[in-house]
Amino acid sequence: MSESIHPAGNEAQARETVESVARRSYGKLVAFLAARTHDVAAAEDALSEAFASALADWPAHGCPENPEGWLLTVARRKGIDAMRRKHRDELAGADLQLMAEGLEAAASAQIPDQRLALLFACAHPAIEEGTRAPLMLQVVLGLDAAAIASAFLVSPATMGQRLVRAKNKIRQAGIPFHLPGREELRVRLDTVLAAIYAAFSEGWSDGAGTDAAKRDLAQEAIFLCRVVTELLPEDPEALGLLALMLHAEARSGARRNAQGGYVPLDEQDVARWDARMIREAEELLLRASALERIGRFQLEAALQSAHVFRRTTGRNNWEDVARLYESLFAISGSPVVAINRAVAIGASRGATAGLQALEQVAADVRVKQYQPYWAARADLLAKAGAGKEALEAYEMAIGLERDPAVRRFLQDRREAAKQASQRCPAENGKL
């Protein structure tokens, strides 16, 4: 192989290099290997064999100067071998030639970055919506199915099957590995961004950071979005999504107090927010707004920005927040947005107005098993003095919550509401 930098590199060092190359280059290598064959699974198999070879070879011979090129050359050979085994009797000429092409070029020259094309393939409308984010995490970042399954709360066997099915679909349906044309790009990019955001949300829901795999998921999603913004610097929604995620991530440390208890946004210690991330988010949002095309993610980022403004200046801007949620609801029609809007209305115009706004989503069956709906309802009911109903709503929220810190927080709120209603029983059921 090529010349080595570490003539007598030890195993730990080689493993470290392999892991860092895997983290940095996995998606790039898969994209390059699968670009012409559309066979993502075969590319991944070949690549994992190449990583195994690297673990065996590098400790003995030192890490190659161009680890990516080394891996790509080996992966291509493995891919061709596998193809030969599969088509022992027939001529798989075309495929073989495709795989062999660039075999020499790969080791020497720069490997083109086709990760964006790979992201578009993973988020193709022909792929089932719920599988897009997991597929990206596996194919572009190399996360294993078991880790992804835990993050998305499905069984590892199910997740494995879904990923296999999606990869088959890419191959059989000939899902293209290139950037969509100009008109199509915007719509298709939305699905890419939505999948990245889905991955981020799964990671972010683990506020306690108890689950390392989930903790990383938020970081991985930010990394993916950075890839998109680097390759498409003029897309305001990609910038908006990155700003949104950075805002949320900047506060992640402040969501727990020293005892591990949950701290809601309006009680967080502002000094514990990551100022650097917030600054970057604000700059991104500014860049996005200069491009003059508003969208869902920019609005969500603007909302985050408004929360930061309120907390750092102490100025009540709940009316602005409510209006932003109004615009967002007009675009998305999402019940989650409607719940947040009701909370903002409750904060600016009073609990009764908030409850009226919340009533609009009450009929949606999806919210009945959604913890934030019940928590919002409980808070508003408690504020409006409807103690008994508030307690029932808190009970639902507690039962639906997974995070023990949030659960305890809700239990404390419930207890406070209970005592308040006992103190002034005359207020009970005032609604």
Partner: protein, 129 residues
């Protein structure tokens, strides 16, 4: 589909909790069951007494053996169960993830057969011809 959520817990932990901690956990369990019930998924629940109260019975070599204690001596013991009716495994897992047991023990999600031998034709459970 019907699933049973089996709660495996370390039963020696419970007496070590303070009264306040016990109240906290029981409150969490009650809210959890309340949520399943109001969502219309909970069919039945059951709590088991300590494994020390268990007795096993088996017939070997034509002799009936009655032994004190539970069948399996594991680090965690079956402490209770919930039978839920949901659309698919994903929904069952999402309920299992909300169980307070998931925090300190293990929740096993097992799909159940529809009906029982009392209600179904035996051929349903036979291997295909």
């Amino acid at each position: 589909m019907k699933y049973v959520l089996l709660d495996y817990v370390n039963e020696s932990g419970w007496p070590q909790l303070t009264r306040e901690e016990q109240a906290h956990w029981l409150g969490a369990y009650r809210a959890y069951m309340e949520a399943m019930s109001k969502a219309g998924v909970l069919q039945s629940s059951g709590g088991l007494q300590q494994t020390a109260t268990a007795t096993t019975v088996r017939i070997r070599n034509e002799k009936t053996q009655v032994l004190d204690g539970p069948y399996a001596d594991a680090k965690e013991q079956l402490g209770g169960f919930h039978i839920i009716e949901v659309t698919d495994l994903d929904a069952a897992i999402s309920w299992a993830a909300r169980s307070p047991t998931a925090l300190h023990g293990i929740v096993e999600v097992r799909p159940m057969h529809e009906g029982t031998l009392l209600t179904e034709d035996i051929s349903k459970y036979l291997k295909p011809e």
